[in-house]
């Protein structure tokens, strides 16, 4: 019995040594949740197998801005997701390393940890942020690379192995760790300091025109924008869901339907957030609208009927909600209050 106890004590001591002696651990880094979010919406989604750390975020940021992920070194994630465009692009579709344009508008990147259903991209085909990052690296019209080469380059780089060691306790680089690091950085891209956020917190006032625009946004008999794009109590300004918003009478790009295989999903695309609209033109999944005015005109007069058009689209037979020129101007004024210039200029998000 005595020998047994000694053996158990020895095992306990050894296991204790094993964990204690691992020594270095990356520094845990909680997301800085804005007051306007904690007051109104549920906490962000952080995968248990990829906790935020200071070293992981720093590594992810370096990777995000580094052309090393592309086949010829000419493009990085930031090439199509520029901080000055709220991490979107200012062209309808983006040009990859081969000089070929893609066929979807670059989605802006912010508040991604609050995408509760974790369906990413315009079509929702990627079921986590980490998985979303895999695609552009190998896509022939984006970074046109392969993961074996990416891993080899990073492994042979004079800096990266040490940075992975700091972030993940291993200098053996893998696709899994690369995507985890970039996802950690992307989750820190939080935008919650617009004029409207300040208004909601009692720190700013809106002009009468902006208030009129908010009224149009919220009224079901006017713009009725809130059913898909949130409201002052949902400061994400998106429902994170998928809708056919009446862009086309004939559906050639099936959107969500191409991913799910359900014809009822044809022509549905993710509701983009209205935050930072001022910086994310052009608009829609294919960048067809160059200006915010064109977007408003679409919902007012330009709706195209199709079998899967969302029933939330009003007055489809008349082309839309029929806003007057003044109402359109007011609505636009309100939408621009959702712009957050501090997000664009946040030094933590610059290369």
């Amino acid at each position: 019995m005595k020998n047994g106890l000694i053996l158990i004590a020895f095992i306990i001591i050894c296991s204790g040594c094993s964990s204690d002696d691992s020594g270095y651990q990356p520094a845990s880094l909680s997301l800085d949740i804005p007051e306007i979010f904690s007051n109104n919406i549920i906490p962000p989604v952080i995968p248990t197998d990829n906790p935020q750390t200071a070293e992981g975020v720093a590594l992810g940021k370096k990777l995000f801005f580094d052309g090393i992920l592309s086949s010829d070194g000419s493009k990085s994630c930031a090439s199509c997701h520029s901080p000055q465009n709220a991490f979107s692009d200012n062209t309808p579709t983006s040009i990859g390393v081969a000089g070929v344009a893609g066929f979807r508008n670059s989605m802006p990147l912010f508040n991604l940890a609050w995408n509760y259903n974790e369906r990413f991209t315009w079509t929702g085909r990627e079921l986590s942020l980490e998985r979303q990052i895999e695609g552009p690296v190998t896509n022939p019209i984006e970074l046109q690379n392969n993961w074996e080469d990416v891993v080899e380059r990073l492994q042979n780089d004079p800096e990266y192995p040490e940075l992975f060691e700091l972030a993940f306790n291993t200098s053996t680089i893998s696709k899994d760790l690369i995507t985890k690091a970039i996802a950690q950085f992307e989750r820190t891209l939080i935008s919650a300091n617009s004029k409207f956020d300040q208004y909601s917190l009692g720190q700013a006032s809106l002009t009468q025109q902006e208030l009129n625009g908010l009224d149009i946004f919220l009224r079901e008999d006017k713009g009725d924008c809130f059913h898909c794009h949130g409201n002052p109590n949902n400061p994400l300004w998106t429902d994170n869901d998928f809708h056919n918003n009446g862009l086309d009478a004939t559906l050639t790009d099936l959107g969500l339907g191409a991913f799910t295989g359900d014809p009822n999903d044809n022509g549905k695309f993710k509701t983009p957030s209205l935050r930072n609209l001022a910086y994310t033109a052009p608009y829609m999944h294919d960048g067809r609208f160059a200006t915010l005015d064109e977007v408003i005109d679409h919902y007012s007069e330009g709706l195209q009927n199709s079998p899967t058009i969302d029933p939330l689209m009003k007055k489809v037979a008349q082309g839309g909600v029929q806003l007057s020129p003044q109402e359109k101007a007011d609505l636009k004024a309100f939408l621009l209050t959702l712009s957050d210039p501090s997000f664009l200029n946040n030094p933590d998000f610059q290369n």
Binding site: I42, R219, N234, D239, N305
Partner: protein, 256 residues
Amino acid sequence: MKKNVSILCLILLFVSCNSSDDSVSPSEVSATFKFTHNWNGTLIRNFDFGPIQYVNANGESIGFERLRYVISDITFTKANGEEIELDVYNLVDLTNEINLEYTPNNQIPTGNYTNVSFTFGLDNEDNAENYTDLNSASFNVPEMMGGGYHYMQFDGKFINSNNEEQGFNYHAIRAVDNLGANPTFPQDTFFTVNLGAIAITNDVEIEVKMNIAEWFSTPNLWDLNIYNQTLMPNSTAQIMMYENGQNVFSLGDVIQ
């Protein structure tokens, strides 16, 4: 050591006997509410959404795109009038088949209940609260329409009198007039759903059936050509929804 082992065996024996003794009924149990949906008896699941394949009481062909609603304040009433009211709510989302089964954290004493009930929607006090999960689900009602939350969001399409597909938004909220900074409320439109008597002897699963067709039938024969969209600021439509809602829910299987 031998003595210790004997004591341990004795304890294990007692514990074992206690846990396997089926003759002892628990004094408190969990109650799970299972929400099912049908169209005049035909079970509706989310994969039935999309096609226009049902006909409402007014003869309009209809299909569904989205259905979610809040129930709250589940109440167990005993014969002596004693009530156990659970200050809870649940957003039932048939579109994504989320929260179709809901088990409140509270345990319920076993016994004979003369009625089990819940509120469809949120009463005015609860509707004035701030619920981060309902906000995250974009279930709010804008302030100028009274604020608070939708009771139900039911969207779909129907074939209108011009033989064209048209959308409808059967959104139930607190009926409101005089939209703006000082809206007024003509009458309450949340309502109590009485499921009837249930004798609870063990952990119980209570099926709550929603006959979706009833929203369109009694006492108000619903004409989708008249009432289809922009019904939130229409207090007449809201009161009609309230009246039709009285016959929508019923008690299904009780399993324990």
